[in-house]
Symmetry: C2
């Protein structure tokens, strides 16, 4: 860093202008890159479609009514407002000119860069079945989270309504397609809602009879975790009443049911936690991508032949020890910071400073954790010591780590308050149904005038 | 109350069933009615289209990004969950049969009642110009609030974008149609956002140059307040840089501007705080209504000839001393409680108990208050002492009263925390733009591909 700073002072003395860095994407990679660039003698423009950064690891808690969107989202402008060399633009990148070093934005603006950091992440993949998107929403954005919240809560309301009128209702079965961390977290939370938070709320239905089923196509849930933790997760889920089916490949999704081969599984709500694909901007770059659309990068996070472009976070295809880095927060944050440091080095070298070689990117893996409902989790801890934890201890570790990494003191305080409240009183915090009052496939009765 | 309880025990002894009360609407009147009915030997069904109660007096703080929806909304089920004689149904009343004593619901259910409490409140009135609704949203629901938030915040983002590209942008002028409490609160809050909360957030625009204009058709803002407080409110608004025009009747609203007679006033965002009309359910009742659609009721809140029906809150046309009761929380809460007590009395009388005459409804007016930005307000205090307050003291009183009346300890704590945070740090809490990224009438540039 010092090299970069020295270098640019020399450059400025020689009458050269400051280098321009464009960061596309305000997720973990983009925000961390911008923060690390704030100390460097460069001018930074961060572009995002949204005006806020989303703390994605807690998005499922918004989906399941524990937290509010504003608890886990923070305006990008206010995160970066104290760095005068950074400007924020709410707009969408729609094209690149790598020759001219231009980024074209949707509203028409063209940004010129000397260095580009592209970190627009990933989105759901329905494996070519885009028609499933409205039937089985996934969880990537705040809007996704409120939509999932709406569907889950509405299912209970509609069942109560039918019970009152007919004395019966279709089974409250929630099907989650995909048994990775998101699927497991959603499943555990729905079970919590049904068993705990809704007690005494309904007069006609028994919310405890709600069923949660995870359909995982591969032989294992939480595939990236070691065997013992997979086993523990399975046990903890089963203790919550969550049913698991592995090796169950979903072949069709329709309103009200899911097909696994020839078997029809009824579902009042189906949620998608199965596949992700890279943001389409990776392909727009015009460089090599993998089959998910992730950009192939070298050890410096550069696409081939473009040392001025860095691709970070979920959008980058980075392998270490023959294994692809997971699409979670830690690698994204580290890549963002790395790209910024590397730019500092290049700017310094350009200005003639010496000894500025930096090593290729290396992921410093501290471990992974996933929660399973209100008091359980699995944690593969790699740093500061190696351990496999499960149950309450793992859950406590999860809690502390997530509070720590939340951006902004206000959000930390708010989330902590809400968790303490929920834990102590068994009441969730944000059980609002906003938007439409219909569910796809819900069986209305014959006299329904809608 | 005791009479009612005794009466019904006798009735039960004689083999008669408990009386059924249907409450339509989960606003202040409906919730207060239900809570007061919880002690009575009746079976209560509360019906609302939403699954939550909205604390409307703080809705403008959601619209202006200080609070989150979940801070001021509370699921009706959880408010009433400890009362076993009350059930809650999320559905919409679409018709009444006063002969059969039936309420017809949208999903097809028919509820039979012995007593009906109708409290579905009011909605915006655009005075026959329904096409203005999308151009100038009003503030009645959580969805309205997030839409206003979206538009106000987006205006700043779009101006920054234009400034970057063209070096200029249309003036950031926010026009509020209507100078009642809602209009004044919105105006003060937008001024706060522009002057305080957004400082250092933008690099190209100066948010302090934003203008707020209130257009009030009558000769006075805050018409229901005494003269001295109207004057104080005017001074306080002007100190915040809010421009006021009274006697200014809006004749047309178009994307990007508002017409007052022949004069065109440009506006990046126009908000509607001018007119309200009764919920359409008043007319569906088939009894006499006033020109706003409010149901004409007698001193017992009964429409003529229907002592078993109570109309409460904004939907009721109730005059005292020749003046219509204002459509705010206090009268609604008192009417709800009154209707419940009256039902208790009637149930008791029916069972043969004596001395059960209750007086007609009387509004116990404790006063009115409206805030004007971050540290000022006007308060007409009637109880426990008479006073006209303005400025900081009035604002403090406003704060305490609103914290006190919020339903639920969690919400009180959360709102208090957020207010303290905002006050101390000058940072608002929920500045998220969700939904579309367009504003009606925003001048996109020529190369815009949308």
């Amino acid at each position: 860093m010092a090299n970069g700073a020295v270098g640019i002072e020399e450059a400025a003395a020689a009458g050269r202008t400051r280098r321009r860095v464009v960061v596309v994407g305000g997720g973990f990679a983009g925000i961390n890159a911008a923060q690390a660039l704030s100390d460097l003698p460069v001018d930074v423009t961060l572009v995002d479609r949204k005006n806020y950064h989303t703390f994605q690891p807690l998005l499922y808690q918004v989906a399941l009514a524990v937290l509010s969107p504003a608890d886990i989202a923070q305006p990008i402008r206010s995160i970066l407002r104290d760095h005068p060399n950074i400007e924020v633009l709410m707009d969408e990148a729609i094209g690149f000119d790598l020759e001219q070093k231009h980024v074209r934005l949707k509203a028409g603006t063209v940004l010129v860069y000397d260095y580009l950091i592209l970190a627009t992440g990933s989105t759901h993949s329905y494996f070519g079945h885009e028609e499933w998107a409205t039937l089985a929403p996934g969880l990537k954005t705040v809007e996704d989270a409120t939509e999932i919240r709406r569907r889950v809560l509405l299912a209970f309301e509609l069942a109560e309504r039918q019970m009152l009128e007919y004395g019966t209702h279709p089974p409250l079965k929630f099907v989650i397609v995909g048994g990775g961390p998101t699927g497991v977290e959603l499943a555990g939370s729905i079970s919590d809602i049904a068993r705990l938070y809704m007690r005494n709320n309904f007069r006609h239905i028994n919310t405890k009879e709600a069923k949660v089923l995870i359909l995982e196509g591969s032989p294992h849930i939480l595939g990236m975790y070691p065997d013992d933790l997979q086993q523990m997760a399975r046990k903890q889920l089963e203790a919550l009443g969550v049913e698991l089916r592995t090796g169950a490949v979903v072949t069709d999704i329709q309103p009200g049911y899911v097909m696994v081969g020839q078997e029809r599984i009824d579902a009042v709500v189906t949620l998608w936690a199965a596949g992700v694909q890279a943001s389409p901007l990776g392909k727009l770059l015009g460089v090599e991508t993998d089959k998910k659309g992730c950009v192939m990068v070298d050890g410096y996070l550069n696409p081939k032949g473009h040392p001025e472009i860095f691709v970070c976070g979920d959008l980058a295809h980075v392998e270490e020890n023959g294994r692809l880095l997971p699409g979670v927060a830690q690698p994204a944050m580290q890549m963002g910071t790395y790209a910024a440091k590397r730019i500092g080095m290049l700017v310094g070298r350009e200005a003639g400073s010496e000894g500025t070689a930096t090593k290729p990117f290396h992921y410093f893996d501290k471990g992974d954790m996933a929660t399973i409902g209100r008091k359980a989790a699995v944690a593969k801890i790699v740093w500061p010591f190696k351990a496999h934890w499960h149950g309450f201890m793992a859950w406590l570790a999860w809690l502390l780590v997530h509070i720590y990494f939340l951006i902004g003191f206000r959000n930390r305080l708010g989330v902590f308050r809400q968790w303490a409240w929920t834990y102590l009183t068994l009441q969730d915090g944000a059980r609002l149904i906003t938007g439409s009052q219909d569910l796809p496939g819900w069986q209305h009765n014959a006299t329904d005038k809608n």
